[in-house]
Symmetry: C2
Subunit: 250 residues, 2 copies
DNA sequence: CGCCTTCTTGAGATGACTCAATGGTGGTGG
DNA sequence: CCACCACCATTGAGTCATCTCAAGAAGGCG
């Protein structure tokens, strides 16, 4: 437990870019013709600046989003104002889905970097699900992965040391960034637009302790923190320390 | 983090009671005729004794289960052998679902009490989903609730004190037992078949500290622990301390 | 060029853990 | 029917991981 207060977050009116779906992360298995149908629905592309929120917890869940570019931090807020990170969403991820029309978001979503998303109205998604069982299967599959990843977080926060939790988080991001071709050629440097404070929110640590742990990881020759980047010196060691299981994320 | 070792768990061959579905917690919105179809599929009722596992993490997820009677503890195991509880499943809950045929269980399920479950083959569930979008919607709704509850656990383990976490867990169980008519008439006593050790697993605490926290809660006049029972003296206080939000569970 | 955010390090406090021992309680077998 | 045993709950004493408060250094941006 910790009571560290978090830097304030700005709210921003999203600018609608209003162009059709470019990517189909959500729709990989959907037939072309149906995808065409999806495009005719009121989906739209939005831009959001870093440090602004895409949606906030407990608000009516009107839209769900596929992330096109940038990173999002999904989080829950504690009564003392501190944030607990739940998951980092990367390009291709599908966030904010709610199963019924009257649901609220169970968490907030904060733009770590500038972000482009494709928004879907939940109503439309529900209609699509009823028409296309494939989509339903896909959404349950997505939810299962998130659930599994969330369970990993519970295990980590409940049982693992700070070092293990950070190692796990970094190994996770590395393995999820790899298929996005976001890792440098030699496989050592990954982009890391989060602050240490955010990494602490994700792993349940104070910024101060996060920093100390990163120093330890550097001293152990596992990773080196650089502004906006992390050099992974020993991926195997990171995976092993964090007890990262690849299968749990995607 | 804690390294406390957990008492060993027995494996048991499940006895198949081989009688048709009696309850339809999973199928509340499914048309009667389809339910009939479901009964013709190879669903079966099983009994499992307390302290035995229904399924273990990483095993191929062949079956999913609707819990008829008894309590289950869903958990993940840490490399040091300690267990982290994820959720207590109560009668009516649907557990062990996997979205694809080749998935493995992301967690284990341990019988807290003697238990009766109805087992479904995942293959059959998938077939049913494809035929009946309603079921898909229902499963996504169930998953969304579990996900939300899991997110609450992450928030709790990351940000809340031991007292708050235990208060949250007890408030949660109280509110979920109420609709099952499991609370005593005066609304004060709830059945509590878990050991303090298990409650500690669920809240990320050692048995010893769990005990101390329960003493504090008693001294504050919130709850009184009795063998197999908990007397809730101040439900409001419990909810407030644990920051329990009813909507997050069901 | 100066301010603001982020990172870094030190020193001390504290919540939760570990080890250890005692006391109930219910089940089981002689 | 009683005695024993296994499991669970309880309490004490000491340790350790992580937190808090505090201050300084290092970049980036207007």
């Amino acid at each position: 437990m910790q009571r560290h207060k978090v830097t304030e977050v700005r709210q921003q009116q999203m600018r609608c870019v209003d162009c059709p779906i470019r990517q189909r992360a959500l729709f990989q298995v959907v037939a072309e013709d149906y995808l065409h149908d999806a495009q005719s629905r009121r989906t739209a592309q939005y831009e959001l600046r870093a440090r602004h929120t895409l949606y906030v917890e407990d608000a009516p869940a009107l839209m769900a989003y596929t992330l096109f570019s940038g990173w999002l931090l999904l989080f829950r807020t504690h009564s003392d104002g501190s944030r607990q990170g739940l998951r980092v969403a990367l390009p291709g991820d599908f966030v904010g889905y709610a199963p019924t029309g009257d649901s609220t978001y169970s968490h907030g979503a904060l733009a770590i970097t500038d972000v482009v998303v494709c928004g879907f109205r939940q109503d439309d998604l529900h209609t699509m699900i009823d028409a296309q069982p494939d989509i339903a299967r896909q959404i349950t599959a997505i939810h299962s992965r998130y659930l599994s990843s969330c369970e990993s977080n519970v295990l980590g926060l409940g049982r693992k040391s700070a070092e293990q939790r950070i190692a796990h988080a970094l190994a996770d991001l590395y393995h999820r960034l790899e298929p996005l071709a976001a890792i440098s050629e030699n496989g050592r440097v990954m982009p890391f637009p989060m602050t240490q404070e955010m990494l602490g929110e994700l792993t349940g640590l104070t910024p101060v302790h996060t920093n100390r742990v990163l120093r330890k990881l550097r001293e152990h020759g596992l990773v080196v923190w650089e502004r906006q980047k992390i050099e992974v010196r020993d991926l195997e060691g990171l995976v092993e320390l964090g007890e990262y299981r690849r299968s749990f994320v995607r």
